[in-house]
């Protein structure tokens, strides 16, 4: 089992290299630094000198892959590829357009992102599984039918409307919690409640319906019939037999996103003005700050790969067939 996990871990390396190459191609080959400079400086009054200056300030004035002018190993290292792409493996992302160090920024913004993402993740999972179990327990009845219709209807509403509507209803009409921002310490909960609730409700429909399908598929299997033939009650069958088996497919979809919780939620954070990584990303996109977007792409991939690895580990915990082989 250990070799299995190590192998899966090593598997991540070529993938990260692949991601790195793709981002490099996307940011430096499809568009040259000149294009980026022209875009940042505004297309109108751009002079070749201004472009050169812009590039020099950001270290984009080097050759892409091979610096023939440099000496020795610097031929390979004094290049954009080495500086801007390979350095990401050391988590050195350079500076953003406004001159701040990106890694420091990421570190300080992680906290607020997690403060929302973790409760959303846990509550959301709990709510969806509970709701799905309820529907499965009453399957074939009108409660089940109504629940499924509700799920489909909830899935059909854009998350934008959940946020806009929720903010309007709870903060503006009922005046229950502040509409946006983030306080310090315990005071933060006041600000966090609304975004958390909205995110959980927004994701409930799709998740609950998906889990319901998994539960029903599982409960049509032979071993469930065996469990019933033992005389177990429906509840015992559902919780002791179906749920445990259904956790395997559910885990595949769920564990992989855990590391990505660090990235926070783009929409929620920007709507509620929460200074997390999600709003950082959106601001960077709007300001066309390529260095930040590049950094976030890389970090996102790293976290996803960690998620894949965690999925492998969680499989071994849940599924004896993998643990013992």
């Amino acid at each position: 089992m250990l070799t299995y996990l190590i192998r899966r871990f090593l598997y991540a390396i070529p993938i990260l290299i692949g991601v790195n190459l793709i981002t490099f191609a996307l940011f430096f080959i499809v568009n040259t630094p000149d294009d980026m400079a022209r875009m940042q400086l505004g297309a109108k009054r751009v002079t070749p000198e201004a472009i050169e200056k812009w590039k020099a300030e950001r270290g984009y004035d080097k050759p892409l892959l091979w610096n023939a002018a440099a000496a020795g190993t610097a031929k390979a290292t004094d290049t954009i590829f080495f500086d801007k792409s390979l350095s990401m493996f050391a988590f050195e992302f350079g500076r953003s357009e406004d001159g701040r160090d990106i890694m420091t920024e990421i570190r300080t913004r992680m906290g607020p992102s997690l403060a929302i993402a973790i409760p959303v993740f846990i509550l959301g999972l709990w709510a969806a599984i509970t709701f799905a179990l309820l529907l499965v327990f009453f399957r074939g009845t009108y409660l089940d039918l109504g629940g499924v219709v509700l799920c489909v209807a909830m899935m059909s509403i854009s998350s934008l409307f959940y946020i806009i509507g929720g903010q309007w209803l709870i903060s503006k009409v009922w005046n229950l919690v502040p509409i946006s921002g983030l306080g310090a310490g315990l005071d933060a909960t006041r600000f966090l409640i609304l975004p958390v609730i909205i995110s959980v409700i927004g994701g409930l429909g799709g998740a609950a319906r998906w889990y319901r399908t998994i539960f029903i598929e599982e409960s049509n299997r032979d071993y469930v019939r065996t469990a019933r033939a033992k005389g177990l009650s429906e509840l015992a069958v559902l919780f002791r037999h179906v749920l445990k088996n259904a956790m395997i497919p559910i885990l595949t979809g769920v564990v992989v996103v855990i590391p990505s919780l660090f990235l926070g939620s783009l929409l929620i954070e920007s709507f509620f003005s929460i200074p997390g990584l999600g709003s950082y990303t959106i601001d960077a996109i709007n300001a066309q700050d390529f260095a930040v977007v590049r950094a976030m792409v890389f970090i996102g991939s790293v976290l996803y790969i960690v998620g894949l690895w965690l999925t492998d580990i969680s499989y071994t915990l849940v599924d004896p067939r993998i643990r013992l082989n």
Binding site: T3, I6, R7, L10, G140, R221, D222, Y223, R225, T226, A227, R228, A229, K230, G231, L232, S233, R240, H241, K244, N245, I248, V318, D319, P320, R321, L324
Partner: protein, 614 residues
């Protein structure tokens, strides 16, 4: 055995199950006494399993109990199972009545240890917990003959072999100390030698505990070995009920008689098997008259209009057939033997072998460790040699996993052999590849096991049959050839424009045979061609294969685990065990005087069921 004096344990009266408009179980009545086994016998789709599930009230959601009573008489008081509340019923399930299922590999919870699955029952029905439960679970595992019971408690189903899983399943069913055991095809998914052991185990346990048993099976061999009473089901109805001896000595209903006649066995070698035309009617058929009438060879006009009643015979036998109606004395008596089909001539032995296999080996690599290096090999086939003459049948016999299918595929170069030589008509195949192999593909073809997986559902029958001709560049007169082939395998030429889903399993197997014949092969490798089929259909396919052999001089490499079929069809037999041939020779020699231990155990397992297996 307890005589009929004892009061019954289970009384089923007029049980009816409805699915939509169809009645998969229709007015079924029977009784089971303690210590006694009732076997429900019938082909697939006859409503046997549905009857068992109805007794347990575990019917699938689409099915509905629409009539009848089921009384469970325990310790003197009768409990009407169909009117108990769900909670009361749960104390019966697993407690008074235990159940085991056909497929042990899917019927156990894959993520729960064996011990916990048994302890669950012990807690529920015996109130045992903790150490007491564990001790009892271990005793149960020991009593079903599972070696190293203590260790097995903490193991998961995937760590057990098929036979061991079924034993664990039985232990679980016994954990609630049931008075009645329902066994739904308990050995169908197991290998022959394991089948015998599990049946023996069930019998012993039944004797020890004086349990009643409802045994669902399609296998006459199992019935003969296990049953005290036999109920034959057809299209949702019981059509014959009899004590076992009576039933085997003198099956009464034409359907029962046909079931016997369709069995392949040595005694019938050289004759055509008796077959039942057509197939079991689909569930939603609205029956008028006798349900078997459309397929019955002795039916007369009244059969298709009047529903027959029960007619008692001597020795406790009861039949639902007009032929036994005392009010119709002048009906054709059943003493006239059922017609058997004409004799076939024995195939002539050709001079030079068509197929020569020398020291064939197929190894699959085992990869391990960080870099997935090959650390060893599994020898699926480990040095197999044999010869097959034109026009003869060589049966390759063995249990699942012994490598017999791999041999078949390696001969056709569908799997690359690791070593050895395969010569077809004197040409070495292993040395050829790609285009060079093409001409030889016309000489050897294959018929597969699962008729539902062997035809592409998206292609028309004509296209399927023509595929080989196109691939091998035979493009002339394709349409005529398809028509000719379809008729040759007993189908109609106009069926070429239809799609596979319109055909039954037996018909599909005929199509698969036509596809193989299309390129005029000299050798056909038949990989378990009848094991997915019911007895009566199996007989049709075997007859067809023999007929084609006569007419076209085909050689068959017949891969199977079914000793009865081997016995009937084979000229020569090769017994495979763990990748090697342990015994080879003429059918008479190998089956008559087996030398190797394994052959003997295989034969004894199969042949204690004298009438053979389906």
């Amino acid at each position: 055995m307890t005589g009929s004096a004892a009061s019954p344990l289970l009384k089923v009266n007029g049980l009816t199950v409805q699915i939509g408009n169809g009645r998969p179980v229709d007015q079924v009545s029977f009784e089971i006494r303690p210590g006694e086994t009732l076997a429900l016998l019938g082909e697939s789709g006859c409503g046997k399993s549905m009857t068992a599930l109805a007794v347990m009230r575990l019917l699938p959601p689409a099915a509905r109990l629409s009539g009848g009573t089921v009384d469970y008489l325990s310790a003197g008081n009768a409990r009407p199972l169909l009117s108990l509340t769900e909670a009361e019923m749960r104390s019966v399930r697993g407690g008074g009545i235990g159940m085991i299922f056909q497929e042990p590999s899917t019927s156990l919870n894959p993520v729960m240890s064996i011990g916990r699955q048994i302890e669950e029952v012990l807690l529920l029905h015996r109130g045992l917990q903790g150490d007491a439960a564990r001790r009892r679970a271990r005793e149960l595992l020991e009593s079903v003959g599972l070696p190293e019971a203590e260790r097995r408690l903490d193991e998961y189903p995937f760590q057990l072999s098929g036979g061991m899983k079924q034993r664990a399943m039985i232990a679980m069913a016994l954990a609630g100390d049931p008075e009645l055991l329902i066994a739904d095809e308990p050995t169908t998914a197991l290998d022959v030698t394991i089948q015998a052991q599990v049946l023996e185990l069930l019998k012993t346990l039944q004797r020890e505990r004086n349990m009643g048993m409802l045994l669902i099976t399609h296998d006459l061999g199992v019935v003969e070995r296990m049953a005290d009473h036999v109920g034959v089901m057809y299209a949702g109805q019981l059509i014959e009920v009899a004590p076992r001896e009576q039933f085997f000595a003198n099956p009464a209903h034409p359907y029962s008689r046909k079931l016997f006649a369709a069995l392949p066995e040595r005694a019938r070698h050289g004759q055509r098997l008796s077959t039942i035309p057509g197939r079991v009617p689909p569930l939603d058929t609205q029956h008028v008259g006798c349900r078997f009438a459309p397929r019955c060879s002795v039916a007369f006009p009244d059969c298709s209009t009047l529903e027959p009643g029960w007619h008692a015979q001597a020795g406790g036998q009861e039949v639902r057939c007009h032929l036994f109606d005392p009010a119709r004395p002048c009906m054709p008596t059943l003493n006239t033997p059922l017609p058997t089909e004409p004799q076939q001539t024995a195939p002539a032995v050709a001079a030079s072998p068509l197929l020569q296999v020398q020291d064939l080996k197929v190894h699959f690599p085992i990869r391990k460790g960080l870099l997935q290096r090959t650390v060893g090999h599994v020898s699926a086939v480990d040095g197999v040699s044999f010869e097959l003459q034109a026009g003869r049948t060589l049966a390759l016999v063995g249990e699942s996993g012994c490598g017999k299918t791999t041999v078949g595929k390696a001969i056709l170069q569908l799997i690359a052999p690791t070593a050895g030589s395969v010569r077809l008509g004197g040409v070495e195949l292993t040395a050829l590849s790609g285009a060079a192999l093409q001409p030889l593909r016309a000489q050897a073809q294959m018929v597969f096991q699962d008729p539902f997986a062997s035809l592409n559902p998206r292609l028309r029958i004509g296209t399927i049959i023509a595929e080989g001709m196109h691939a091998l560049g035979q493009r002339a007169h394709v349409a005529e050839r398809i028509a000719e082939l379809l008729e040759q395998v007993g189908l109609r030429a106009d069926m070429a424009t239809r799609y596979p889903h319109e055909f039954s399993g037996g018909q599909r197997q005929r199509i698969a045979i036509a596809r193989a014949l299309a390129v005029n092969p000299k050798l056909i490798i038949c990989d378990e061609p009848t094991s997915a089929l019911d007895v009566s259909v199996q007989a049709q396919i075997i007859n067809l294969l023999l007929e084609l052999q006569d007419k076209l001089g085909l050689a068959y490499l017949f891969i199977t685990h079914n000793m009865a079929v081997v016995d009937y069809i084979a000229d020569d037999v090769a017994v495979m065990y763990k990748g090697r041939i342990v015994e080879i020779g003429s059918a008479d020699a190998v089956l008559g005087k087996p030398q190797h231990d394994y052959t003997q155990s295989l034969l004894s397992a199969a042949f204690t069921r004298m009438r053979g297996a389906a």
